[in-house]
């Protein structure tokens, strides 16, 4: 455990840490813009920045495989789908006056409260915990492949069933409207 070998103090920046913090600030900033911008498509593009930033953070945490999966699935597919959805629902160019609901102040209070609570708890609990990033890469393809197909095969297969169900569900949802429209 790294806890025993943790002579480093609370503020002892290494190169990785500096990079992590900088990227983290960018990520949170992008996320903030994502949830607050009034331009719908911009929100999606800032989401790309957020997700990409997270991918970099994964890389910094030596979880290489997950980082590329993040890029492949989120940036390559999920965001494209979201953009697709935005365009199909006629997202306008420019500011939408009603991007936020009337709920925003309550939401702000809840979010700030939860952020305060979570940060407080986390800092309180892991004030001096040290992650040892030296040594072998922990999230290499080889490692991930081994644990995934040796120990986690059953959940993996269950997940494939879930994906299939989602696929079927999405097709059914889309087709039903078509048939209804056809009937009209």
């Amino acid at each position: 455990m790294s806890l025993a070998a943790a002579p480093s103090g609370f503020l002892s920046p290494t190169g990785v840490e500096i990079a992590f913090v900088l990227v983290g600030i960018a990520t949170v900033g992008a996320a903030l813009v994502t949830v607050s911008t009034k331009q719908l498509v911009h929100a999606a593009l800032w989401l790309v920045v957020t997700l990409g930033g997270l991918a970099v953070e994964y890389l910094l945490l030596t979880a290489e495989f997950i980082a590329w999966v993040q890029v492949l699935i989120y940036v390559g597919s999920v965001v494209v789908l979201l953009l697709f959805g935005l365009m199909l629902t006629k997202a306008p160019i420019g500011r939408s006056p009603d991007a936020d609901s009337g709920n925003r102040w309550a939401a702000l209070v809840v979010a700030v409260a939860s952020a305060t609570t979570l940060v407080w708890v986390v800092v309180d609990a892991f004030r001096a915990t040290w992650i040892n990033l030296d040594g072998a890469v922990q999230g290499s393809t080889k490692v991930t492949g081994q644990i995934l197909f040796q120990h986690w095969v059953l959940p993996f297969e269950a997940l494939s069933v879930l994906l299939l169900a989602a696929l079927v569900g999405a097709i059914v949802l889309s087709r039903r409207t078509d048939r209804k429209n056809g009937a009209r």
């Binding site: 498509v41 911009h42 593009l45 492949l72 940036v75 390559g76 953009l83 697709f84 393809t141």
Partner: protein, 320 residues
């Protein structure tokens, strides 16, 4: 210090390749198409057979006014070409040219990295299509997105087949593990991969998103000058990347006679042969309709790719 120099050198080499190869491919396309259609093609620029035609084109594009439509989303409109182009540059870093580390940067999950980053390129088309505030552009963007989503899957599956055969995701590792009989073994995957790649590049016959007779020039309708040139550059860079990847994955990369010394040459030769095929296909086949495109992906390529994976798995179990 040596390391830093080494890295810088490699990056510069990649940048050079990125800036020159697409031009070479473009020039080749001009000439090959012209000859296939019974004409000469560019003959004047630079003197000998118009070899500097694309340089001249570039100069012309650079001189043109950079027009942004009034109703467009300015920043995104301007950002889109970069987003479309950059992924190919990044991909080039990971492609091995020759043995013994003749590669920009050997990445552990190289194949994965390559595919993931190429998937980002679609964002550029979508951004361009949406930000132009033009319905033809929007339609083109949507078509692009739909096409990319559809062909991403068979491409990934075909690549997964090779990765299974090699037992690694590293691109140099895959080339290392190559034997000559892999080509017939993985031929289905190769065809699927190459076809899907063509579709992702929106090259003819898969150029429905930019079908000029229907939607002018799709997502790129409103672009002029240098930004338009960047999109064109992205297309040709895409051809280079696709052909190089196909070479690396299915055709054995640097493998060939005297590969230890001239392996990089083998890679380049194979890549350019494939690029020639890409051009050939453009001249040969008519454009496919949107529904035919989707049908080909979902009912043709995906089952084929799955079959290839099954075949790979069976053979893998048998020989091990």
């Amino acid at each position: 210090m040596n390391d830093v120099l080494d890295v810088a050198l490699r990056l510069v080499a990649v940048l050079v390749v990125f800036l020159t190869f697409p031009l070479v491919v473009g020039q080749t396309e001009h000439k090959v198409m012209a000859h296939m259609q019974g004409r000469l093609g560019p003959m004047y620029a630079g003197g000998f057979h118009g070899w500097a035609q694309l340089v001249a084109d570039g100069v012309k594009f650079a001189q043109k006014e950079d027009v942004v439509p009034a109703n467009a989303d300015r920043r995104i409109f301007q950002l889109a070409p970069a987003v479309a182009l950059l992924p190919y540059l990044l991909v080039l870093i990971a492609i091995p040219v020759g043995p013994h580390g003749f590669v920009g940067q050997a990445i552990d999950a190289g194949l994965f990295f390559v595919l993931a980053v190429m998937g980002v390129g679609v964002l550029g088309s979508l951004m361009a299509g949406w930000a132009s505030a033009n319905k033809f552009s929007l339609l083109g963007g949507l078509r692009t997105a739909a096409q990319l989503m559809a062909y991403e899957l068979p491409m990934l599956l075909a690549a997964a087949s090779v990765a299974m055969a090699a037992g690694t995701l590293s691109l140099p590792g895959i080339v290392e593990a190559y034997h000559w009989w892999w080509t017939p073994w993985q031929i289905i995957g190769a065809v699927v991969f190459f076809t899907a790649g063509l579709a992702e590049l929106q090259r003819p016959p898969f150029d429905m998103p930019v079908a000029d007779s229907e939607i002018i020039f799709g997502a790129y309708t409103e672009y002029t000058g240098l930004r338009f040139a960047l999109f064109l550059l992205a297309e040709y860079a895409g051809i280079v990347v696709l052909c190089a990847l196909t070479t690396v994955l299915f055709l054995g990369g640097w493998h060939g006679p005297w590969s230890d010394s001239v392996g990089w040459l083998w890679t380049l030769i194979k890549t350019f042969v494939l690029a020639f095929i890409v051009i050939w296909l453009r001249v040969t086949y008519p454009r496919m309709r949107e529904d035919q495109l989707q049908k080909l992906a979902w009912t043709g390529l995906i089952p084929l790719a799955l079959a290839q994976i099954a075949l790979t798995g069976v053979v893998k179990v048998v020989i091990s």
